[in-house]
């Protein structure tokens, strides 16, 4: 199936039923198996969307996460109305996602390493960036700088939220500016791109990681595939804007399957923070080296 049709399809949350048809390989899979397997399809390895809380549970040591700015709520500076007024859209998004906004921030530990963590929730208005996402990200970056913590931001975003127009756009400048000072302090920023990460989010903090990781087959780009297709009036190459495509073009460091994410991030941080090397394991029996 092409990437194009994959992202255009609406993606309902995984129902509570016993089984579902995989949206990627169409095999019947048990929800329980999915949930016990990092939300990967046991048949085709398709990476299903994770909520911010599921992502935090995946990455942080148990009970180590302490949230900041949990009650920050967006305003409606433009009095924007599309199908419904923006405040109503916000209320619906809160209900649907269980989050107050599209970014959850805080501090915690990952394999006992203290770090600052931001995770976007795609279920809240497509993970779009408005004032709250920008402000929470900037505060997180500033806190990480003040406390000299390494920083990880996990993106899943459709870009800047149109309902805040120019004020939303300026959040790109705000978050990137905060990262200028963070970088100046000599601290490491890891950016993890998940499906999908596009638009102004990609064109700001998400692309500024000292190391950039992505989940397999995640859609990552500046412009969305539909816009590009409309502009150039050609079909897009196979795999265009996938994580693997970006890796091949030198835009990211690693594509990391979800089960290896925690260990990979912690491993990178040990290098970046120059943590002491643990005692090497016992040497293998001599026979192993003979071959």
């Amino acid at each position: 199936m092409s990437l194009f049709s994959r992202i255009r399809r609406r993606r309902p949350p995984i129902p509570d039923g016993l089984w579902l048809k995989c949206q990627s390989c169409a095999e019947i899979i048990y929800v329980k198996a999915l949930n016990e397997n990092f939300k990967l399809c046991p048949k085709c390895n398709h990476h299903y969307l994770l909520s911010a809380r599921e992502r935090i549970d995946l990455l942080c040591d148990a009970d180590s996460f302490s949230e900041m700015d949990a009650v920050m709520l967006p305003g409606d500076p433009l009095n924007f109305v599309d199908a419904i007024p923006y405040p109503e859209k916000q209320a619906k998004a809160r209900e649907k996602s269980g989050e107050n906004e599209a970014l959850v921030t805080g501090t915690g530990t990952i394999e006992a390493i203290p770090f600052a963590l931001g995770v976007m929730d795609f279920t809240y208005i497509g993970g779009t960036m408005g004032s709250v996402v920008g402000e929470k990200a900037a505060r997180l970056i500033e806190l990480a700088r003040d406390r000299r913590l390494p920083l990880l931001i996990v993106s899943a975003s459709g870009g800047v939220r149109m309902h805040e127009s120019i004020i939303g756009l300026m959040q790109m400048a705000k978050t990137s500016g905060a990262l200028f000072y963070y970088k100046q302090a000599g601290l490491p920023f890891l950016s993890l791109l998940t499906n999908p990460t596009t638009g102004g989010t990609t064109a700001s903090f998400a692309s500024l990681g000292d190391i950039i990781l992505a989940e397999p087959n995640a859609l990552i780009g500046f412009a969305g595939p539909r816009v590009i297709k409309q502009t150039i009036r050609q079909d897009l190459p196979k795999g265009f804007q996938s994580a693997e495509f970006l890796l091949e073009h030198g835009m990211i460091d690693m594509v990391v399957p979800r089960p290896q994410l925690k260990a990979t991030i912690a491993g990178l941080l040990r290098y970046l923070l120059r943590l002491p090397v643990e005692a090497p394991p016992e040497p293998a029996p001599a026979a192993a080296s003979a071959a």
Binding site: G75, L78, V81, V132, L169, F180, A203, L236
Partner: protein
């Protein structure tokens, strides 16, 4: 010259004026009184029409094919321009130009988007839509200006950063993101002016200024009215409605504190009186440059960060 519907009554009057002038000259009569009254009528009408433009009509003015572009301002404002080329990585993007310029006796670095005047030039200029190499060239030149202690003047006029295969392959998003971050660190004054279209990330990619000015009929938005209409209203034809909803006019931007000043345009728009428009731009640039040049590098960085850091509307229970 393209005439928009709302300009038609003005153009009619202008035609009448020039016909009368021609006729008076031919038959050698004195028509000064009639001419004066017609001209006054035209000015009043122009003022009324332009004061009452709907947001989408302003977008149309901002996109007028005769509107002055960067190179026109360079010609009209600067006594010297030495263009510098290339990003040292891939290409020289002709949609985004830059180089040393002399502005009212001051040495500065000027850069900005450049649209084409005709189909042929637009092939080369890509309609003012830069690729990653344009943004990387801009940063290369800004970094150079920083080292040389030259103030930077950035002219913004783009429908947006180009959405294409090559642009994605070469990291359009990364190129813009790096500019947003590293422009904060420049130790010289950065003065931006939106002269036409302020198209989203493509505009912001050279838009991190200590001050951002905008011309009266320019606009600045997260997305084009057409793009917004097709996504949120599911109908690209509702662009006029989207333009209103997006609050993208110079007045809106001043109210939101996104821009520091609106540069007035001559009556009838910059495209009707480019020289006059250029003088108004020059006066504003010189005034702001003089103020910014008095600030030390760290204060410039800090003020620039604060300008963007404080933007946002939210509440905390």
């Amino acid at each position: 010259m393209i005439t928009y519907d709302f300009e038609k009554p003005i153009v009619e009057l202008e035609k009448k004026i020039s016909e009368l002038r021609k006729y008076a000259a031919e038959v050698n009569i004195d028509a000064a009184t009639e001419l004066g009254s017609l001209e006054r009528k035209r000015d009043v009408l122009s003022q009324e029409v332009y004061a009452g433009l709907e947001p989408f009509q302003r977008v149309q003015v901002a996109r007028h094919p005769q509107r002055p572009y960067l190179q026109d301002y360079l010609r009209l404002l600067c006594t010297d321009f030495m263009e510098l080329h290339g990003d040292r990585r891939f290409a020289d993007d002709q949609a985004l130009l830059g180089g040393f310029a002399t502005l009212a006796g001051r040495r500065v670095l000027v850069l900005g988007h450049q649209k084409g005047r005709d189909v042929k030039e637009n092939m080369r200029r890509n309609f003012g839509m830069a690729h990653p190499e344009g943004y990387r060239k801009a940063l290369r030149l800004m970094t150079l200006a920083d080292r040389a202690g030259l103030p930077i003047v950035s002219f913004i006029d783009t429908p947006g950063a180009y959405p294409g295969i090559g642009a994605e392959e070469r990291g359009q998003a990364e190129a813009i993101a790096v500019n947003l971050r590293d422009m904060i660190g420049l130790g010289v004054p950065v003065l931006c002016v939106v002269i036409g279209e302020g198209g989203s990330g493509g505009a912001l990619g050279i838009g991190i200024g200590n001050r951002v000015l905008i011309m009266e009929n320019a606009y600045y938005s997260v997305i084009s009215p057409e793009g917004c209409a097709s996504i949120l209203f599911r109908d690209a034809k509702r662009a006029a409605e989207a333009a209103t909803a997006l609050k993208l006019t110079a007045k809106d931007l001043l109210q939101f504190g996104i821009v520091e000043e609106i540069i007035a345009e001559p009556i009838g728009g910059a495209h009707r009186h480019p020289e006059h428009a250029a003088q108004l731009v020059k006066a504003a640039l010189v005034r702001h440059l003089d103020e910014l040049c008095a600030m030390p590098p760290d204060a410039l960085r800090q003020q620039r960060y604060e300008k963007f850091r404080r933007v946002g509307v939210f509440s905390e229970a």
